[in-house]
């Protein structure tokens, strides 16, 4: 049977790449340190396949067809289309159709209804953390797109339940496979809104504390109340909640948190001890 060997979360703000030259040495050093530790932990988990939960930033989907959650089941995914990510070393990324199809089947058998895509383009949300964490060669990827960008969003509770279901799907996969989960995005940030650039550090620290305490009900209640006030980009914390669900709400460890105005994002990095 497959084994869940690691669960992780990382911010993916585009300015980490686009604005790198304008970051202060301390900001660069902090991000390098965080991604380096993330990569070290992910490599130690030796995943044969990596489930990556990220939003789609208007690359695959538009308002004429906007799934709440979509699983990439293809053999191959396209690399990031953003011109400023032309140095990303992979034009295509390998998929893991067997695991992806098993997840979709398991989901539907347990009252979840993801859509599927046989070929996704994986934008910066997927690729910046993979790149900066230094995962090379990349393990086969099962992308899971959460709609964190355009209301209506999946509820926070649904995201937690999704994560728990993902862990069950991995555990029931009929094959010897080491699987890790990486959730990307968050923490607080605001893009294209009147408060663009505002980082809600108080929210971020309270949020991290709720993850550390574990209690999913308290986390969900906190986010239902505070998420709408932490900037539209904070919606991506839903992906962290899914990771928390996959880890059965245990073992959260903050790798690093830095509110970085030049990135516009409260940059957070974490792992869950799933042993």
């Amino acid at each position: 049977m497959a084994e869940l060997t690691g669960v992780y979360a990382a911010s993916h703000g585009p300015m980490i790449v686009r604005n790198w030259g304008k970051l202060t040495p301390a900001e660069q050093s902090g991000l390098d340190s965080a991604f380096s530790e993330l990569g070290k932990r992910m490599r130690a988990a030796r995943p044969d396949a990596l489930i990556v939960i990220s939003p789609d930033h208007w690359v695959n989907f538009f308002i004429d067809n906007l799934p709440a959650i979509c699983v990439g089941v293809g053999e191959v995914h396209d690399g990031p289309p953003e011109p400023w990510l032309h140095d990303f070393p992979h034009r295509t990324l390998p998929g893991h159709p067997a695991l992806a199809e098993h997840i979709v089947r398991h989901a539907h058998e347990h009252d979840f209804e993801p859509s599927v895509s046989y070929r996704l383009a994986l934008d910066h949300g997927f690729c910046i953390p993979l790149w900066k964490a230094g995962l090379d060669p990349l393990p086969p990827i099962v992308p899971v797109v959460f709609n964190d960008l355009e209301p209506p969003y999946p509820s926070v509770k649904r995201c937690f339940d999704w994560g728990a279901m993902l862990a069950e799907a991995v555990a029931s996969f009929p094959g010897k496979l080491r699987v890790a989960i990486l959730a990307t995005g968050g923490l607080s940030h605001s893009i294209g809104e009147p408060d663009m650039g505002r980082i809600d550090e108080a929210f971020d620290r309270d949020c991290i504390q709720r993850f550390e305490r574990g209690d999913p009900r308290a986390l969900i209640e906190f986010l239902n109340e505070r998420l709408p006030g932490a900037g539209n980009g904070a919606s991506e914390v839903r992906n962290w909640v899914a990771a928390h669900g996959a880890a059965r709400a245990r073992g959260f460890e903050l790798i690093r948190y830095d509110p970085i105005p030049n990135v516009y994002v409260g940059c957070g990095f974490a792992s869950w001890n799933v042993r």
């Binding site: 004429d64 009147p194 900037g231 919606s235 839903r238």
Partner: protein
Amino acid sequence: MRDYWLSKLFFDLQNPALANEYRAGRGKVLDRYPLKAEVRAAVESDDVGTLSKLVNPYLLRFYFLMAGMPEDEFLRRIRSTGARAPARAAHG
């Protein structure tokens, strides 16, 4: 509520070839989209405040970046709208 054709225009402009054509002359590209007159006028006048009420904020930010508005200028304009951020109305 989103304006579909304005959103479609901004979404389509992620295509580099279309973006180049648009930057070379907006009119021909805008003619292909059945924008309401007041929406087209807002596009032609770079009216960040009006457009911010009609499209997803990420697409709005992308559009002005693509169109060549300096980031500082976009920030100044979006911050001066004082509009209530759309995400505030959405519950977690």
